[in-house]
Symmetry: C2
Subunit: 770 residues, 2 copies
């Protein structure tokens, strides 16, 4: 845990320069726009510890899989998220000294992420070895209006000397990945062009052949007047720049405005990529920094209008939740159905790949409630388009008849992770993809999606489960052997309750969806069944048999579901009794020790209770929560939110609040000591869920919204907006009670504490505290 971030409701603030936390700050202060993203590296040179990172959506490198080469069906590669050309660079030389915070005396350092307007700023005074002092103020953002562009305003003032500032804004493509194994570089130069203050560099990824053109155009002012000095083009392999030497006297402020863009061949024809890049850069240059920043602030205001959560009485919690919402919007906008939400977004290299089950299990609810339905729909279509690859993937593993196994990690539908215990065995991801379809149709009422896309996915997933179980003569049941559940601190277990339960649920839901589509869209139904050669009698009868006879392990004496066969054979120790020095376990214990311990990484049985809550009575929820939570070490960022929601459901407000705190400031406080690798983007949606589904108790049942809010003791109030079937609701929970305003144009029936109310358009439901 760290506590150096200053609490502020709309800003993330770091004061004073501490190189030891620089990589953590580089993650926290990251900026992005769904199309590209950039860690908070410095514009000027920095020779201290840093993880340079500029990431362009959809661009990756298929690193050869190295281990398990003799295991058949093994994925061919691991998809590395690639560090792309550095577009923010502005080298500053003063005489023969380089401005580099690692070698200067730094004072007045302040770094601010302005979440309201969507930009990063940084100011400091640096004293060079020679005693020369400069003051710097830098601002930059990735535009969410021109979402391939970024802009920088860099102001530098010599404080105690007259002389020359030697300024070189550059694009440097000679970058590497931190996780490169042999310092290999993944980019090759295609083209470079420089002329005066413009420079363009087109690079191509090895193997995958993505082209990315990165360009810049800049202008330099002194005391607000354009500088007349000539700009010298500088070029080298994978490097373009323009150099200008500006004579200054002490106290004169020199301003560099640099406009840059990253365009990829995913979005532009390869031939016209450099031209398109030039056009965009020139248009930004023409707009200028101030106008671009105004547009940025306005666009962010609109986003906040829709998705903000306002908390009164707890600034740290307020800052935490806004930070999470801000980063989610920076990562995914829902405008491009080819993109998805990587666990680190654009803030680090770790994990590789772009889409995990995190998207379906944690992010969809956030986008369903805070954006138009097309955003969640695009996330669903992402998987629909990958269905042929998921069928291919299953076939590699020996499944047939159109059974689909979605990859655990993917860029383009192919599996691109490479640990067998995950790739081959953590198959519950398939259920999350089905559940997202259920969640989407439940929330939006868009059942047409089933007929057009959803059912086809559901049937392919159901076919997988039907083949994946096996009949055990010894147990007279279907069993599911050799899986890894959501709790990745177990591998290759038998009859993981969560996986079996969700598999049974998938079969059931597929049967229901079949009936619904047959009823609502009989022609599409018939066409689909013919196309995928689906034989209703044979397959559905078998599915029903499996649903009835699948093993759902439980311990009757304890009244709990059993996480897996044999879980109770383990030494039963509670997390609270662990030596704190040994935590987090995954940084202190060897893998085998973790595996044979009873400790649980993240919600597993409880994840199932969360998804299928309505199937279970409160006693069951409580017994399982009381048994499993104390054995859970929450070493996945996805863990606390589910626990917060269930604790809230069980009326345990205190614990719900504790879990919330852990999720909402996970990165700001570097809770798991790993924020330097990047932010935990997908878990941020879980934070939002903790408030909306946890504290406010929001549920959708039978197409209608339910709330059962409580106010954490420390808070004065909290409020948020949700979209629901065309309506925009504002929910406010305060010491006075609950108010729900319907800003839509139709009456809506809303359940508050299980009581139904009709809420007319533009009116409100108010329940005062007794």
């Amino acid at each position: 845990m760290k506590h150096y971030i200053k609490v502020d409701e709309w800003n993330i603030i770091e004061e004073g320069f501490d190189p030891h936390v620089n990589k953590v700050s580089e993650s926290i202060f990251s900026i992005g726009n769904g199309r590209m993203g950039q860690r908070a590296n410095f514009e000027e040179a920095y020779s201290g510890e840093s993880l340079l990172g500029n990431y362009v959506a959809g661009v990756y490198y298929p690193d050869k899989t190295r281990v398990g080469w003799w295991k058949n069906g093994y994925p061919e590669y691991f998809a590395k998220v690639l560090n792309a050309a550095n577009w923010i660079g502005i080298d500053i030389r003063i005489g023969d000294e380089v401005l580099d915070l690692a070698t200067c005396q730094v004072s007045g350092f302040r770094r601010v992420l302005n979440m309201k307007a969507g930009y990063l700023e940084r100011s400091f005074t640096a004293t060079l070895g020679s005693g020369k002092k400069v003051q710097v103020h830098a601002q930059r953002f990735c535009s969410i209006v021109d979402d391939e562009a970024g802009a920088i305003r860099y102001r530098i003032t010599p404080l105690n000397f007259d002389g020359q500032l030697d300024i070189t804004p550059f694009i440097d493509g000679d970058v590497k990945n931190q996780d490169a194994n042999y310092d290999e570089k993944f980019w090759e130069e295609v083209q470079r062009r420089t002329s005066g203050c413009s420079a363009y560099l087109t690079l191509r990824t090895k193997k995958t052949g993505f082209d990315v053109c990165t360009g810049q155009q800049f202008r330099v002012y002194c005391e607000g007047e354009p500088v007349a000095e000539p700009v010298l083009p500088v070029e080298a392999e994978k490097y373009v720049a323009g150099r200008i030497v500006v004579p200054v006297t002490a106290g004169q402020e020199v301003t560099i405005e640099k406009f840059a863009a990253n365009l990829s061949s995913e979005n532009h024809p390869r031939e016209t990529l450099p031209d398109a890049c030039r056009e965009l850069v020139e248009s930004c240059f023409a707009k200028g920094f101030d106008r671009m920043l105004e547009a940025q602030a306005a666009a962010w205001a609109a986003k906040w209008e829709e998705s903000d959560i306002v908390i009164e009485g707890d600034a740290a919690a307020q800052q935490g939740i806004r930070f999470n919402i801000f980063q989610l919007h920076q990562t995914y906008t829902g405008e491009d159905a080819r993109l998805n939400i990587g666990p680190k977004g654009f803030t680090g290299e770790k994990y590789g790949g772009a889409a995990y089950w995190d998207t379906e299990a944690y992010c969809i609810p956030f986008y369903l409630a805070t954006a138009g339905p097309q955003v969640a729909r695009n996330l669903l279509l992402y998987r629909y388009r990958h269905l042929p690859k998921a069928i291919e993937n299953a076939a590699k593993l020996g499944f047939s008849n159109g059974a689909a196994l979605y990859p655990m990690v993917t860029m383009n539908g192919e599996e691109c992770h490479n640990e067998w215990e995950i790739t081959f065995e953590e198959i519950h991801r398939n259920a999350a993809i089905a559940f997202a379809i259920y969640n989407y149709t439940r929330y939006t009422g868009d059942t047409a999606y089933l007929a057009d896309y959803g059912l086809e996915v559901l049937l392919a997933i159901a076919r997988f489960w039907a083949q994946r179980v096996s009949w055990s003569d010894a147990r007279r049941q279907y069993v599911m052997l050799g899986v890894t559940g959501p709790n990745e601190y177990e591998n290759n277990v038998n009859n993981n309750w969560y996986t079996n339960t969700m598999a049974g649920w998938c079969l059931q839901y597929a049967l229901e969806a079949l009936e619904q589509v047959q009823r609502e869209a009989p022609e599409k139904y018939a066409a689909l069944l013919a196309r995928i050669q689906f034989h209703t009698e044979g397959e559905t009868v078998q599915w029903q048999h499996i649903i009835r006879h699948l093993c759902y392990p439980e311990d009757k004496a304890l009244g709990i579901f059993l996480q897996q066969d044999g879980y109770l054979d383990k030494e039963q120790v509670l997390a609270k009794d662990l030596d704190p020095a040994q935590r987090p376990l995954n940084q202190h214990w060897s893998w085998d020790r973790i595996l044979r311990s009873c400790f649980i990484k993240q919600a597993d049985v409880l994840q199932g209770l969360y998804f299928l809550e309505d199937r279970f009575d409160e006693g069951t929820l409580r017994r399982n929560f009381d048994f499993y939570e104390p054995r859970t070490v929450h070493e996945s960022s996805l863990s606390p939110c589910v626990h917060a929601i269930i604790a809230a459901r069980l009326g345990d407000e205190q614990r719900a609040y504790e879990f919330y705190l852990r999720t909402s400031r996970l990165d700001l406080d570097d809770y798991n000591n790993d924020t330097e690798d990047g932010l935990h983007i997908t878990s941020m949606a879980g934070t939002w869920m903790s408030v909306v589904e946890g504290f406010a108790g929001m549920r959708v049942r039978n197409g209608e919204l339910h709330f059962a809010p409580f106010l954490p003791a420390k808070w004065q109030s909290f409020a948020f907006n949700v979209r629901f079937r065309g309506a925009l609701l504002k929910v406010e929970v305060s010491r006075q009670g609950v108010r729900i305003c319907n800003h839509g144009d139709q009456e809506l029936r809303i359940y508050l504490y299980e009581q139904a109310y009709g809420v007319k358009a533009q009116s409100q439901l108010q329940a005062l505290r007794q």
Copy 2:
């Protein structure tokens, strides 16, 4: 399966050139001397498919571990066996054509591995594109007398033209490994020297910094007369050669004699390495090819005298067993306690590392019986010297108090494999190391070894097991969770019967060894216990408790031991019912499918029954054999031999013979379609065991030798020598009966079919067939 090797009792013969099997032949015809080894690559250029391989004992590269980077305690590297400089090369140009069998018409091709005398020869006629014809006859060997040297005699005769033979014997260090991931090269040049017909090249491995100096000296004759033409030195980065152009007329035979050596800094001071190499090469050059070959043949004759198995009436079986014995001697001589027996010996890169549990479980019996006790003792000392690293390795995994976990794969005592399910979980290897100590002392009677070295290892291993089990309240037993047994087609299982049983045995044997050393060497006993802070009361009491209360799973109804918890939940299918097109499973099924099937890779429960045979009655052996063998797919080369021995023990002569066939010609017939990667060296010792412990029923019980031979129906007779406690016995089994000659100088008591006989020195025991 392939059947292109001609059957011959003393030779391995290939006739006709088939590029499709060239890599298989390169493995089969490999030559080596325990210090270095060379695949049967061609001397002249070859542009077809080939796996170039020259391996120098003890030289490796620590390849960074790539997967599972977030798993704590993970090994730092995977040890690659490195392809070293090519020392056999002789480029031949005729006019502007290169002699290259991939581009010529080849006739009369014949490759012979002469096992009796220990050399490889090859002859062929090649017709070049121009129509020019040459006849070639090449011989070479790795000397077992000068075990860092090799010699080549290459004879070439133009058949239908007069002209010039342009001959370039060379050393090429610009080699790579087949398993390099980025075509990275692992050698850097340190020094090169050429002068006339001599050339020396010193290379250094990256990271590990091993120096290897490879040198050559050659002479060229034409029709037996030295050729007077000048030799031009040729040099390039990592390449040294001498070039000579010899004018010839049709029918004239040109002979190149090339002498080469590979000296490593493991055996010579780095500074004098080139000089030592030159001295050795010059001394070989002075001896000449014929004298060296004579010495080679004589040294091999002595080896055969000790370890041959003679089979009459079945030339294929005879060839198979000799091939196995020949390759074992080529791989390990027992002279250097720093070396061990890699599963591929010097015949390929696969597997990496040098020492597996194969050595203790399969190879020790062969060396115990066919060599002086110092050979097996050196293999034991190899592990003794690695004890501190094994303790360090266990500490990384959270064990304490001097507990040792030996690595699954090692070069220098460090773990150098990198799959967690193997490295962290296949811990039964520890038991094999204890068992080897037991086996050695049982066979040799050298109990002093216990006091000096063995007990220390046994106690450290016992400490590991005592910490590795855990008490299950639910079962009121000690359980051992999360292991991989010898059957690697299961991972992370609980209570693997083999592992638990061997763990219990280790604890028991450690207790017995403690008593024995206390009795026989009380001073050493006291010193050891003080040094390792062993507290007899506490630890031994706990061990006894564990031995009594450890779970040894069984199925009472079937009367069998259970391979692991839940094994019977699997779908029970027999290997004979598998679709032959799906075999071997590991080349057709995905890993998860293999894991959740009931199919067994290699002896697991049966491995325990083999090791601890005397603990079980025949009914138990039979029931387990009859249950498990039909579920076993024998996809490890180590599997058939154990089954052959148990089948023989159960009197099932037919099946014993079938298993024997599978092991004895595994590589000659490319049974598992993987011989091209290299030979299965360690399983070759299993072949020897199949004959000696299987067909001849040899056992050691209470320090005395037992035999219970039978003669496979197809054979006329078989005979072999064994050393036992100073005596040399020749055992002959024929249609007439059994004859055991004592060639030693002391009387020996021998049990034949459970009947004891005193056999005087230089006399024989004969049991005629009734």
